[in-house]
Structure formats: structure tokens, C-alpha cells
Symmetry: C4
Subunit: 339 residues, 4 copies
């Protein structure tokens, strides 16, 4: 049906490159100072961290994606198994269709069986919570996969472009506050590629949101993605937003400055482990990737493991080459501008 | 004859892209901060405004264009009907030929019948007012179409390039002051694509000019347009001015700062509704487009409606995605540089 | 012979584009503020000026060039006749060959007969004055063409690249001081495309030099020109200097600031009359062109007249479009950065 | 065997351009002010200098390179003979294979016989000194070629990328301090193309290191070089480091500011003698080149002589064209930014 077709279209559109932001995520302008004398063993570099009380082998997140039910099942199993194998976090895509259809669409208990130890995020859209959803639906989403936390995505621009989109966002902030208070698990809020601003970040933290994912501009652009799926006018309206949003590297700095103590996830145009290192240096706790993982996700668990092994190794080498034994040290590495 | 042929040439030259400025209008460097939690319904976004006492459904202006009489009639009817349908402002092209020939050249009372409710601007060139025109001719131009206001265009560089141009601009400022005092309707002054400077803006406002259209550099370049129509030397002289003028985004800031209370229209290289949003954020009250509308204008009323519907929808989505319920709120949206 | 062959080679090399600097002359970054209400008649714009006591119809100079004797004669006659017709200044190329051979190489009294009224500059290289030349040779060069002033060119980098070049520049400054004191006509000093620095400008003025031509980087590059004529090693050495020198627009500012009262000529990569207007705004009294005139110079007097008529008209229009009635006013026109 | 094959691979990879950094070495942004009146004879320009007590005809270093033994012998003999002929410094490539195999791999006493007078640097990797090497091995390396000093290279990022690399860098700083105290000859420390930072430079000088070679980013990139030799994952990990490191021109400034009195060698993306002049102006004592010399090094002694003759002549002309009689004067030449 419509909703499933849409999800399936998204995958095609992203893979074809039609959803690539015209905006620079901003990592190239950030230069870490090389350390020629690390006084470290590479093997000693410790990428482990904790988020929301759960240990992670590396500060990496497989960002939320989902496909049409048929494909989604395979994709999600590949991602879950890889997350388990690597000890990194995994956010499933929106569970709305699964919630509403009853069928789990690849998002059922099987997923948790494949990834018993990972920090697993359930996922729902914020707009739903002023459209009938409440703590009850959120609890069902969390339980469906045995998630450790619930991610709520904010995608107002995507919804505004989409002709059938949810375009009434009044009361969303309050609803998220209610949700945060009512749920046993922490609630994380994210954008989907246009970035959280400092004002929004502050408002969310004030309502009890436990962590933020800036999901900034420079990677997947959901206005273009909806435009590419749409007919003439939708596509034309969307085109004006090709360069829209807060670039990821800037969003990290701003959100970190606005909310000094809340965990911050960096996503949106993260290309490799050197970008991850920069994101962490700028204040992020974890970095996530979505579109860049999609080809591997469609292939196999092994392909996803290989993809994130490379990212993790790049991050490890970046720590080594800046003389940082762990992520705490990486946060104090000098930037070239400040040297 | 010559004057009509010239107008017709302009259309060809603009459509062929020979009149495109080499200057960047400056909108890309202005970044609006995305708001991931708008707390708004898209439908609630109110683009309505008033200019010179008349209501507008959106802060949009179909900028002055005109063709050779034969084509002008069709073009102007398409534009008038679209403006009426959308509730936006419409500025007709220069009425000089019509005034001097008696024939209305598509600029007669019929136009107002097609667009009974729109904010309609009559149009004459400033240089005429030191060359025999006075309040009487201005009144006739206004009455010819039942205009709400008179736009006077300043195009000294275009006239200087054009071998047969009006090259004596002494006394124009005084003549515009006389006109403003004598006319029952407000007088608006605009450039045609090289921008109003703060000094000129201040001088005009001091003489009683009611509103300004910066018509800055970055869109249509009338030196190149005349060059493309001319023979070798004219073309060669014009080529040096390809990058001339005050870029639109800079002109808006400067004119707004120089004249804090006068209505300011932004035109010159406005590409889409996100540029409109930026123009308004920088201080404009309305944004206008000319060359980009030309293809639709030559086609049909429906094409023009579609063109501006897209612009209006882009502007509406830009308001929504910055959390701005109306244009007043849009003016207070943070810029990324200031965040 | 060798010297004549070299001069002839230079023309081929320049025309083929092998001597084009990789450096930006810097004019694009200078933006004159457009004036939409000039309160002027274009015909009223007065480009006339005086330099070294002689009137000029426009602040333009045909910069020093010369060819092999055979061609030089035609070239110089075209340039001289055009300068006379337009009332602009004319600098002949180096007279060294003519001085040393006796033959005038197109640089004899005939030239002055063709251009009886122009500000005419004789030309010799500075290095000659520590290699046997003195006031006597300078006087002969001036008298050969009945020049109003003598231009001495400083081209140490060109000489250093050229295997047979004059590479001993010790004592040149003193020799120029002696020359300035001994000669009845003013002595002007110029570079040939790498720019005068403030320190050199100050030293020259302190020795009685009457005017300076910055001849900055961004147009003809004489290291590349000699490289293109030379064999492998010369060419390789020269290539490192493709981007060398003080860009013309910067040289004008710096020299004007260092020497507030001395006449300054701007040359080096001046493309058209808008660049001339910018040069004057930055502090120059005259602007000169060499390589860009070469094709017209080889063709006919009429071609040179047409070339400079276009430049003059561009400058006139630039004055009009900034509201500047004359060059004094042009010097006070606002720059966009300062607006 | 493996180590020799690796060295040989490096040569292919560098020559094929696969190891070229994506980073700008930063020399283009540094502009020396041209001096149109040098008051010098080109022949008078004195490029001679001393380093570590030994005289040099020019401040040039043939940076450390080495090939597989078979080729290395020819390469090193060409380089040594050229260094001798030109009076410049020569650093041989790593002597580890030679030390461990007994065979000199082209790095034996023959080398010194070909270059009796040059400032000759022995070369070992820093990581070896926490892996069994000590002053004894260092002394053997120095004696093997009769070196004047020992260069220790720091290449942690290269080792980290290389699957078989030395990835434990703990204790290296202390080991270098021990070495500096124990050895009769001075110890120089260098990077290999990612730059020394001010902190590392200071630490090394505090341990008695006699001179530093910044070997900054912008030339050969050893992560890419190892990536190009490796299989899929190695190559993928390396790719993230294409733009890594402190750009050479910035490294020179920072290291010079951090260590005002220690001799500093500049290498990494030095293209020609004008870059050498800029490096010296920024604070370097010598400038070195590796990859750019490789083609000549593989050809003949004459080709290497020709290569460095061009560099030296460019430097000499750059001194002349800035009015600098010697390197001391070159260090005081104004930069355009400061003029
Ligand atoms: C195919 C695809 C599907 C996605 N679906 C969801 C989703 O259901 N829920 C969500 O919160 N984000 C979703 N996202 C957004 C990503 O989680 C992420 O925030 C965004 O794409 C930016 O990261 P990127 O530039 O690495 O792709 C999706 C992204 C992709 C590429
Ligand atoms: C074909 C054409 C004809 C125009 N004719 C007039 C005119 O008669 N009067 C006038 O004030 N402006 C005229 N303009 C200028 C526009 O109103 C506008 O100021 C300018 O083109 C900059 O906007 P743009 O970059 O969107 O084209 C004309 C523009 C075009 C493209
Ligand atoms: C073909 C040619 C010959 C030149 N010969 C001389 C010369 O004899 N004496 C001199 O002072 N300058 C000479 N110049 C330099 C020019 O006068 C001028 O300073 C320089 O070319 C920069 O101007 P441009 O960029 O417009 O070419 C010559 C230039 C050219 C193109
Ligand atoms: C083929 C090749 C082999 C090299 N081998 C060594 C080496 O054995 N020891 C060393 O200290 N540096 C070595 N280097 C690094 C250079 O000495 C130099 O620091 C680096 O390449 C940056 O200079 P470049 O950009 O001019 O190549 C080598 C460089 C090249 C190109």
C-alpha cells in the first residue's frame, strides 16, 4: 500500500543519489592536529564508551533506516547482526507501519534475538504524538523489539514537502515532554538531515529528553528525497531546499554549547572514521551513518560488519594519529585553527 | 518601429540567457537556521501582508516586464490573471510607448478588468520626467490601467549603453520629488538590476517616495541585454559591466539599514521561495521576479499561476521549517552566522 | 640579430598567450557602488586630466611595447596616430636598439610628427644606467622622438630569467637619482608586470622620480615570456614565477598610500574601462594597457582607435553609473566593502 | 622478501601518483613582496649556509628515499653524486634492511666515497628504538655511510595503516632522548608527510634533538601509499586520511614559533625554488624534496643535478627578485599580507 510503497521508494531514491544534500557537512574545515609521537600502542586505543547506561565497543550508531516490509526484514537483520558482532548501537527505522498493521515488518522480537546485547533504539515520528499516539503506542514500539530507548524523529520539512505529509506540528514539544515522563526507557530526539538548532535542543532537554541526534545537513536530504518521488510541483518545491539546513559539524558545536551535559549523537553526511573523530572532537558522544550503509545493508551481515569495521579502524587510527588513547583524550586534541 | 522592436528584442535576449548577470545575488551566503520543532501547522502559516494599504495573499510581486505590443498584450493578460488568482502584486512594464502612441499596447483598462483586486503598479522611466513628462503623464499612466501606485524605474546604465538611450539624468531627483507631491497615488522607485545604494535610497525617501525596489545585481543585467542587441562597439562596451552592481542580498541589507521604515521590495536574481524567505529575513517586505517568469508568461495564465504557486509554497515551507507563523516572525528567525 | 630577434619573439609569445600571469590582478574584488540616480548627463562626464603638465582627453596610456624593427615601425605608427586622435598618452618601447644601432627602428622623429600633441614617453631600461648609459644617452632617447618625459623600466626578474640578461642591479637607484637631477624632462619609473612595492616607490620618489607606473602582476608575466623563448632549463626556472608579483590592484593601494602626492599610473592586467575606473578609485592617475592592445596595434591605426574608444567609453559609463562627473569625483565614490 | 618488496612498491606507488596528498601545502597563500630595485647582482646572491656545523652551497636537502636494494643502489649513487656536485645535503632512506641483513643495500661506504663533502644523514625509524634498537644500532647506521648526523623518522600513521606495521609507539620519546645523549653525532627528527606539531617539536627539543624536519602535509601521503599497496580494507581505511596532516607552510610557522632557535628543515610538497624561498621566509633553515626528485633519481646523476640546479636557480632568482642578498635577508623580506 501507499505507506509501504513510500518506504520502498525512499530506498531507491537514496541509492540513486537523488537525495544527496547540496550542503557541505562542514567536516573538511575542521582539522585535527597530527601527533607524530603518539606515545601509544594502536591496540591500546580504547574506543569503548557508554550511552544511556549501556556499553559500546565504539562510539558508532547504525542510524535509523527501514525499507518496505519485504526488504526491511532482510536489511534489519543484517544491521542487527552486524551491530551485535561489532558492539555498536543500532537504531531501527520507523515502526509506524508495523504498529498500525500488526505485522512487525521485520521489526519484531526476532531482531532482538539477533542482537541481544546491542544498545537498540525503537523509532517513531514525532508528528504521530499529536495525531493519536501516546505513551501506550510508544511502549508498544519499544516492547516490539525490546529496545533500550526510543528515538523520536523530527522531520517537519520532509512532511511539508510530501503531499500526504503530517503538517500539523502544534503541541509536539509538549507531547514529547509527556512521553519522556511516562516512558520507562529514555527518549532520544533526532532530526533526519536538516539539523537540530540550539533553541530546539534546549527546549527538548528542558522537557526531559535524554539525548539528541543532530542529524544535520550534508548527507541525505529528505526534501529532495520526497521531491524525487513526487510529481512536477512537489519536485519543484523541494528543489529550493537542496542546500537547506544546519551543516552537521556546525550543528554539533552549537548543540554541544547549548546543552553541555546531554549526550549528543552526530549524523548527517558522516563519510568515514576521520569525520567521526572530528564529530567527537567537536562535542559528540556517538556518530551515526545511514545512507552510506545502505548498499552493505542490502547485501549481507558480513558487508555491514566490513563497512563498520573500516569506520571503526579509521577512528582508531585517527585517535592514534592524534595521540588520543581514548575518546576523552580525543575531545582535548588541538584543532589546527587553535594551534 | 524602433521602440517596439527594442522591447521585442529584449524578450529574445533575456530568454536566450544573454542578459544573465555574472554577479552572485548573494542569497547562498545567507543561511536561515532550520527549526526541527516548528510548533505550527503548515496551513496555519500566514503569508498575507499589506503594501501601500492593499492586502496581498503573499509577499510576491510579478516584476515589471513588457513585450512588443503584439506579444505584450498576451503576456500582460497572463500575468494579470495570475496575479488576481493568487492575490499577489503585479507591476506592468513601461507605459511610455502606450502613452505616446495612444494605443494601449496591452496595457489598457482590460488589464484591470482581469485583475480587479490586485495591487497594480503603473510604470514609467525616470528619465522621461526631465524630458517633457510631468505629473500629467504620470496620472495618465496610472489611469490607463487603474493602478494603485506608480513605479518609476531608474536605469541609467542601460540608457548609457544603448546608443539611442536617455543619457541626461540631471534633475531627475527633483522631478521625482515633484511627482511624489503631485500624484494622488504613491510613487515607488526601483532600479532594473544594478541595485539601489543607501545614498540613493535616502535621497528618494527624503523626496517623498513611498517605497523602494532594490532590483539588485545577480539576475537580469540590462547592460548585457542592450549589448546583445547592439553592434560591435556597444556589445564591447557593455561586456565590461557583466559583473556590475550591488548584489541583491547586500542591497536589501544596506537599503533597509539606511531607510528603516520605508517598504522595500527585493528583486534581481530571486530564484525561488527560499530566496524570498531570505530577502524578507534581511529586511524586504516583498520579493519580485521578472526574467524567471518570462517563459510561463509567454505560455498561459495557468503556467504563471503554477510558477508562483511553487514560489509561494516554497516560501510557506521555508516559514514552516524556520518555525515562523507569519512574515513578522520570519524577520526574527536566527541566521546561522549569528547562532 | 639577437636583440631584434628577442623583441620579435616577445610579440609572438605574448600573442600566443604564453606570457599570461597566473596571478589575479585583483580588480574583481574591488566593487564600485552603483548609483541609480547619477544627476549627470553622460556627455557631461569629463575624463580629461593632466599629467606632467600636459593635458589628456582621458586618463589612458598606451603602455610601452616595441617589436623587431621591421614590425615595430608599423606598430608604433598605429599607436602614435591613435594616441593623437584620442588625446591619450603613449609610451614607446625600449629605445636601446635604436640608440645603439643608429637606425631609429620606427622610433624616430616621424613618430612625433604623427602624434604632435600627445604626452609621449621615451623608454629605456634601468639596468643600462649602470652599464655605461648616463644622462647623455637618456637625452638622446628623449630627443629621438621629442618625448615629454622619459620612462625607465625596472625588470630585474625578466633579466634574471633571460640567460643573456643584465643581472647586476647595483647602483641603479643612485643612477636614477642622477638621471632625474640631470634631465630637463621628468623621469617616470615603472615595473613591467611584477609591481612596484611601497619601499621601492618611496626610494624612487626620494630620488626625484616624477611619477610611477606600478605595472603589477596579473597581466603580462615577463618571466614566463622569457621562459617560453628559452630552452629547457630557462623555461623550468621561469615556471616557478607564474604567480609572482604584487597584484596590480594591491600595488595601486600600497604605492598610493606610500606616496600620497606623486602621480601613479596603473598597469598590468587592466582589461577594460571598468578596471580603469577601479584603478583610479584606488588612487591611480592614469591606467595603461600593453598586451591587450597588441592585436589592434599590429592591424591598423583605426583598430587601435576603436580599442581605446571602447575603453574610454567604458570608463565614461562607469563614471556615469557611479554618479561621478569627473575623475576627482570618481576617487570619492564609495566601495561596496565600505558602504 | 617482504620488506624489500614493500620499499620497491613504494617507488611505483609514488611515481604513479597514488600517494599524492589531497591537502594544499599552503605555499600559494604566502606571497613574497617583489622588489623591483634589488640593488644586487644576481651572481652576488649568496645561498650558502651551514647546518649542524657543515657548510652547504644552498639550503637544499635531498630528502630520504630508498628503493628495493637492486634499485636503491643506483638511486642512492645518483643522489649522492648530485649532492656532492651541488654542495647540498643528502639524507639516505631507512637503513633498517641494510642493518638487519648485513648487505648494505646501496647504503654502504661507497656512498660516502661518492659524496665525500656533503652533509650526509643516516636514517632509521623511531619505532625501532622501542623494538630492540638502541645507540649501538644507531652508531652502526651512522658508521655504515660515515654520516654527519642521524635522521630519525616518525611515521606512526603510516605504520598504523600498514597491516604489518609497528604500532606500538610507547616510550619512543624517551628512547630518542637516550639516543640523543648517547650518540656522538646530532640527531635530527622528522615526520614523513603529516607534519610535526608545536607540542611534538617542543618535546623533541627538550630531549636534546638537534634539528627538526617538519615534513608536512601537501606532498607525499604515506597513508595513501600504504593503502595503494594494500588490499581492500587497508585501502579503504587509508582513504579517509587523504587530507590528513599539518600543511607544510603552517607547520613551518608553528614549529618555528614553538622552537625559535633549533634548525628547522621544511619538506612535504615543496614544488620549486619559490616554495623554498617561502619556506625560508617562514622560518625554515633548509628545504627538502623527495617524491619530485624520484624520476630524476631513477635516471642519472646528471638528471638529479639538473633538477636541483633548477631549484637552486629559482631560489636564487627569488632572492634577487625580493632584494635579498642572502638567506638572512630573505628571512626579513616583507610578506604581502603585512605590507
Ligand atoms: C533509506 C533511509 C531511511 C530512513 N528512515 C528513517 C526512519 O525511518 N526514521 C528516522 O528517524 N530516520 C530515518 N532516516 C534518517 C537517518 O537516520 C539519518 O538521520 C539521515 O539519513 C542522515 O544521515 P546520513 O546523511 O548518514 O544518511 C532514514 C535514512 C535513510 C537513508
Ligand atoms: C523582459 C523584461 C522586461 C523588463 N521591462 C521592464 C520595464 O519595462 N520596466 C521596469 O521597471 N523594469 C523592467 N524590467 C526589469 C525587471 O522588472 C526587474 O527589475 C529586473 O529584471 C530584475 O529582476 P530579475 O533578475 O528577476 O529579472 C524588465 C525585465 C525583463 C526581464
Ligand atoms: C610585447 C610587449 C613589449 C613590451 N616592451 C616593453 C618595453 O620595451 N619597455 C617597457 O617599459 N615595457 C614593455 N612592456 C611592458 C608593458 O609596458 C607593461 O608594463 C606590461 O606589459 C603590463 O601591462 P599588460 O598586462 O597590460 O600587458 C612590453 C609589453 C609587451 C606586451
Ligand atoms: C619513495 C620515497 C621513499 C621514502 N623513504 C623514506 C625513508 O626511508 N625514510 C624517511 O625518513 N623518509 C622517507 N620518505 C619521506 C620523505 O623523506 C619526505 O619526508 C616526504 O616524502 C615528504 O616530502 P615530499 O612531499 O617532497 O615527497 C620517502 C619518500 C619517498 C617519496
Amino acid at each position: 500500500d501507499g505507506a509501504q510503497r513510500r518506504k520502498s521508494d525512499h530506498i531507491e531514491v537514496v541509492r540513486a543519489g537523488h537525495a544527496a544534500s547540496a550542503c557541505d557537512p562542514g567536516f573538511d574545515a575542521v582539522r585535527l592536529v597530527h601527533c607524530a609521537l603518539p606515545e601509544l600502542a594502536l591496540d591500546e586505543v580504547d574506543l569503548s564508551t557508554r550511552l544511556l547506561g549501556k556499553p559500546l565497543a565504539a562510539p558508532l550508531l547504525i542510524s535509523a533506516m527501514t525499507g518496505g516490509p519485504a526488504r526491511a526484514e532482510r536489511i534489519n537483520i543484517h544491521l542487527a547482526e552486524a551491530a551485535q558482532e561489532l558492539g555498536i548501537a543500532f537504531a531501527i527505522g520507523s515502526q509506524r507501519i508495523a504498529l498500525e498493521r500488526g505485522g512487525a515488518a521485520g521489526l519484531g522480537a526476532e531482531l532482538r534475538r539477533r542482537a541481544p546485547d546491542v544498545l537498540l533504539f525503537a523509532n517513531l515520528g514525532a508528528a504521530q504524538f499529536v495525531r493519536g499516539y501516546g505513551p501506550e503506542e510508544a511502549r508498544r514500539a519499544v516492547e516490539m523489539v525490546g529496545a533500550d530507548a526510543l528515538v523520536i524523529h523530527l522531520n517537519p520539512l520532509q512532511e511539508a514537502i510530501q503531499p500526504e505529509g503530517d503538517r500539523d506540528w502544534r503541541g509536539v514539544l509538549d507531547a514529547l515532554g509527556v512521553l519522556a515522563a511516562a516512558l520507562a526507557v529514555p527518549v532520544v530526539v533526532k532530526e533526519v538531515g536538516f539539523g537540530l538548532s540550539p533553541a530546539v535542543a534546549r527546549a527538548l532537554v528542558a522537557r526531559g529528553i535524554a539525548a539528541l541526534d543532530v542529524a544535520g545537513a550534508g548527507g541525505t536530504n529528505w526534501a529532495l528525497a520526497e521531491g524525487a518521488r513526487g510529481e512536477g510541483r512537489t519536485r519543484a518545491v523541494a528543489a529550493a531546499f537542496a542546500d537547506w539546513g544546519v551543516p552537521t559539524a556546525i550543528a554539533i558545536r552549537l548543540v554541544r554549547a547549548a546543552c553541555p551535559t546531554v549526550p549528543v549523537i552526530a549524523s548527517g553526511g558522516v563519510r568515514h572514521g576521520v569525520d567521526v573523530a572530528k564529530a567527537i572532537r567537536l562535542g559528540a558522544d556517538l556518530a551515526g551513518q545511514a545512507a552510506a550503509v545502505l548498499p552493505a545493508a542490502m547485501e549481507s551481515t558480513a558487508a555491514v560488519v566490513e563497512h563498520f569495521t573500516i569506520l571503526r579502524d579509521q577512528l582508531k587510527v585517527a585517535c592514534f594519529a592524534t595521540g588520543a588513547r581514548d575518546l576523552e583524550a580525543l575531545r582535548r586534541v588541538p584543532l589546527l585553527d587553535e594551534a
